[in-house]
Structure formats: C-alpha cells, structure tokens
C-alpha cells in the first residue's frame, strides 16, 4: 500500500518507476504531485506533457491527462493543448537536454509568449537515458561519455535564460530541499503566465560516476551544502557564496497572458457568438 498522496496522484500499477536507485527524479515527481494537490486542482483538468528522456517518463506514472511526446517538443505540444482549452492546467515535465538543447527554441518562444504553462525542468546535468553524454547543463570542465577529456562547453543557467526570454515566473529548487521545491512549483502553477521551475536532480548512475561525485547520498549532501536560498544569500559575503548555487524564486512579474489575449481577439472578431 502506498501513501495517500501517491495513491491519489500516481498510477500505482505502473510503479515502481524505471529510475535508478538514488535518482532525484522520483523526489521531484512527488513534489509536482504534492504541488498540484496543494493547489486543490481537479485532476481531470490537469494535463502533464513531457518530451523524451529520463525526466519525461514521469508523465506515464502520474494520474492525470498525460501526453508523452517527441524529444524536445513537449512545450510546443503543451502550447497547443493550452491554447485549445485554456481551462486546463498544463504542466510540462522535461529534462535539461529535452528543454534546453533539442527543445531550446520552443522553451524561449513559450517564455516570450507568456502562455500560462508551468514548466518543471528535472535537471540532472547529463543525458541519462542514452547513457551519460554531456548536456547544456553539464558544468564546464566536467565529464560525460562524449566529453571524455572534460566538457569545454559553458552551461546554461536555465532560470536566467527563461527570464531573459520573457518568462514571468522563474525559480530554482533541488531534489534535496523538498518543502521549498514543492512551494516553488505550487507558486508556478498559481502564477498566471509562463512559469519555469528548475529542479536540480541527482544522477548517481552517470553524472555522479563519470565525475567521481561519490554515492547518491554524497550527491544529496553536496546539494545540502552548496545550494543556498537566495534570500539567505543576501546576508552572505562574496567569499561565502563562491561556487554556491542560488535557489528559490528568481524572478516574477505580471504581464498579459497569451490565451487571454487570444480570447480577446476572438471576442473582437465575433467568434465567441
């Protein structure tokens, strides 16, 4: 028997999931489910859209309307779902490669439109499903199977990327800091406009092993020690913040939302009659 939350929000007969021991994705998926619950949404009106990769297998486990699409295209599919029926709450679960490499164009343009989607990026800094190749968020200098001598690419800061592209809510949380992550997703869902929440995951199998990060527990300890809440960071010195990753709400503003503006066009054209 699973917990009440899992029983209500997951397709229990599909569990246990395929993710490796210690993978942060299971924690982040539970966070998304808890956030949906906290928002008090009718599960029949919630749509989860995902792409391809480890992260995107989440859709199959979650007990909502779920659309597991093609690699990189989740946000484009989600845009169609949301514009077709703005009454639906549309949440995209995607990965660092899915969202910012093959799907990078869809990400920035959805940000630009300020369409009311909530995008949760499960960022494990690597392509896990294909066996550990470097991704746009693999830190500079780190290794992947396709960066055997160290990654010479510079990595994306996903919330910053989204903010500069026009997202009206951006945030970063971690798999370790669960209550904060749940709250960030919850706020993203409640925000009327495009929200992006990066969830720093943990990939002990590929990223961890390739880069000698120790066990899964060691990697969560790393998150515990190196991820600092942005509010707390304001009281810290530059030296103290050296090499740290800031978490929490990164940006927020209000701007007319895309489907609202389109409904206004329909009204002007008399198409609502």
């Amino acid at each position: 028997m699973p917990s009440k939350l899992i029983e209500k929000t997951m397709r229990v007969n599909r569990l246990p999931h395929i993710w490796c021991p210690g993978c942060g994705h299971g924690i982040l998926m539970r966070d998304v489910a808890q956030a949906i619950e906290n928002c008090g949404l009718d599960p029949d009106k919630v749509v989860i859209v995902s792409g391809i990769g480890c992260s995107s297998r989440a859709a199959g486990y979650m007990n909502y309307n779920t659309l597991h699409t093609t690699h990189g295209r989740a946000i484009a599919f989600a845009t169609g779902v949301k514009l077709a029926n703005p009454e639906l709450t549309v949440i995209v679960i995607t990965g660092d490669g899915d969202a910012t490499a093959i799907g990078g164009n869809h990400l920035i343009h959805a940000c630009r439109r300020n369409i009311d989607l909530t995008v949760v990026v499960f960022n494990n800094n690597i392509y896990g499903m294909t066996g550990g190749q470097y991704s746009p968020t693999t830190p500079h200098g780190e290794k992947g199977t396709t960066a055997p001598y160290g990654n010479i690419d510079y990595n994306f800061d996903i919330p910053k990327l989204a903010e500069s592209a026009g997202a009206t809510y951006t945030a970063r949380g971690t798999a370790f800091h669960v209550p904060q992550m749940i709250k960030l997703i919850e706020n993203g869902i409640k925000h009327h406009g495009f929200s992006l929440i990066e969830g720093l995951s943990v990939c002990p199998t590929y990223y961890g092993r390739k880069n000698k990060k120790g066990s899964a527990v060691d990697m969560y300890n790393w998150q515990k020690e190196n991820c600092i809440d942005a509010a707390k960071a304001q009281k810290m010195s530059a030296e103290e913040l050296e090499g740290k990753i800031l978490t929490g709400e990164m940006s927020r503003c209000e701007k007319p939302e895309y489907t609202d503006m389109y409904m206004e066009i329909i009204r002007k054209c008399g198409g609502d009659k």
């Binding site: 028997m1 021991p21 210690g22 969560y220």
Partner: protein, 65 residues
C-alpha cells in the same frame, strides 16, 4: 505522535540509502539492500524520509486515514 505510523514497502525500495543518511534520529538502516526501521523507539515520525524517498517506499501513515 502516537497516531502516526512509519510504513515501509520493501518491494519498491531500491536501497539508495537517502532516507537513512538524512534521518535526524538515525533510526533507519539499509539491510540487505532494503530499508529497515532499526530503532522504532527513537523515531519521531517527522516524515523527512517520505519526502526524500525517490521510490515512495517509506512514508508516515496517520491513523484513521
């Protein structure tokens, strides 16, 4: 606290050890690749293990629910 119970589902446990490592009271351990409650008396049913279990294999059940 009396109306709460720690439940373990060994079938779903993958033995990653996160729950045991971050348990504030150190009441959990991985035995033969599965989590076990080794010191029930000290468990404060805080539920941190539930929040951080990637596999939903451990959780706090409230009685009457």
């Amino acid at each position: 606290m009396e109306n709460k119970k720690l439940v373990i589902n060994p079938a779903w446990c993958k033995g990653c050890g996160i729950c045991a490592a971050f348990c504030p009271k150190e009441v959990l351990a991985i035995v033969h690749e599965k989590v076990q409650l080794i010191n029930e008396a000290d468990c404060i049913k805080c539920g941190l293990c539930e929040l951080r279990c990637p596999d939903y294999a451990i959780y706090i059940e409230k009685e009457g629910e």
